[in-house]
């Protein structure tokens, strides 16, 4: 099990996975979001090779209405 903080909430992943696998599990279209792992932006082409480790802080953001 991998314990992480995802968008400010604690979450347990059943198995070790990559950013790409996490986005797929959450049914999030990777083309419209950005991901930060431990305060560092993960480039889109690195989602498949970036593994999520125990204790990671993951942020997944998108664009919303604003001024």
């Amino acid at each position: 099990m991998v314990r992480i903080t995802l968008n400010g909430d604690s979450r347990v992943l059943e198995r070790r996975m990559t950013i790409a696998e996490l986005l797929a599990d959450l049914e999030i279209d990777s083309r419209r979001v950005a991901v930060e792992r431990n305060y560092i932006v993960v480039k889109r082409d690195a989602y498949g090779s970036t593994h999520i480790e125990n204790g990671d802080q993951i942020e997944i953001v998108n664009f919303v209405g604003g001024g």
Partner: protein, 261 residues
């Protein structure tokens, strides 16, 4: 109208508008269309993990027609604003950012010290930085010196609709600026946008004045016309103000002239 140029990029409109607070995505889309805007701002927020059903804002913004300008709204530290700008770059694949570092919850006035720091960092990282700041000529000059691609002084507090509170400062900011001046925030109605443009501003950025108008689509068109009117009037060169009247019609030759002697 003459084109707005920021960081070497041309825009067909001098009105920049937001995407927040509209009654619906459809109304927003119609208002964007009516405004003639070429740039629309967006905010960066956490994806709702538990509810993925909501429609995406991006389904209602044609990226071929509108240039997306992400903001760092609601960031209260330079660090948060910098992180948000980096994330925005990854979502939008553009290195432009409307930089906000807020210093006070009630007024939403900027924390200029942190804003300057964040500007320096992001410029060094290759961002085109458009900072939202006070109507303070000294601060605007510091931001320009730090590499800002434009300066965006507020007309009045965000969402207040009070209009341009310090017209003289906006004029001074424009006179000394070597980068475009975009009046950002505080506009309430079309005449406010006109005043900003008449003072010499290169553009006006607004959200609430359109989104929360009773008829956002009509207000968007009014703002488009207000901005155009103000720009034309500025370029035309207004007459000097005088305290007393100067007749528009000839003084002589009236039918009363004969009996005057």
């Amino acid at each position: 109208m003459d084109k707005l140029v920021i960081a070497g990029r041309e825009f067909t409109s001098r009105l920049l508008i937001g995407t927040g607070k509209y009654p619906s995505h459809q109304v927003m889309q119609a208002a964007h269309d009516a405004s003639g805007a070429a740039v629309v701002t967006v905010a960066v927020r956490r994806v709702n993990i538990s509810d993925r059903s909501k429609e995406s804002l991006l389904d209602y913004i044609d990226p071929k027609r509108y240039f997306l300008l992400p903001n760092t709204a609601a960031c209260y530290t330079a660090e948060d604003a910098i992180r948000t700008a980096r994330l925005a770059r990854e979502v939008g694949l553009s290195h432009w950012v409307k930089l906000e570092v807020i210093g006070d919850e009630k007024t939403l006035f900027p924390d200029n010290e942190a804003l300057l720091e964040a500007t320096r960092v992001l410029v060094k990282e290759g961002f085109v930085v458009l900072p939202y700041t006070n109507d303070d000529p000294v601060m605007c000059r510091k931001l320009e010196d730090a590499g800002a691609a434009a300066v965006m002084p507020l007309g009045a507090p965000i969402g207040s609709g009070l209009g341009i509170q310090n017209p003289n400062n906006i004029r001074i900011i424009k006179e000394q600026a070597g980068v475009p001046v975009i009046v950002d925030a505080g506009v309430g109605t079309a005449s406010d946008a006109t005043v900003a443009m008449e003072l010499g501003a290169d553009a006006v950025l607004m959200n609430t004045a359109i989104a929360l108008a009773q008829d956002p689509v009509s207000m968007a068109r009014a703002m488009k016309l207000g901005v155009e009117a103000g720009r034309l009037a500025f370029l035309a060169g207004r007459i000097p103000r005088k305290s007393y009247a100067t007749a528009s019609s000839p003084a002589g030759g009236t039918i009363a002239a004969g009996v005057r002697a």
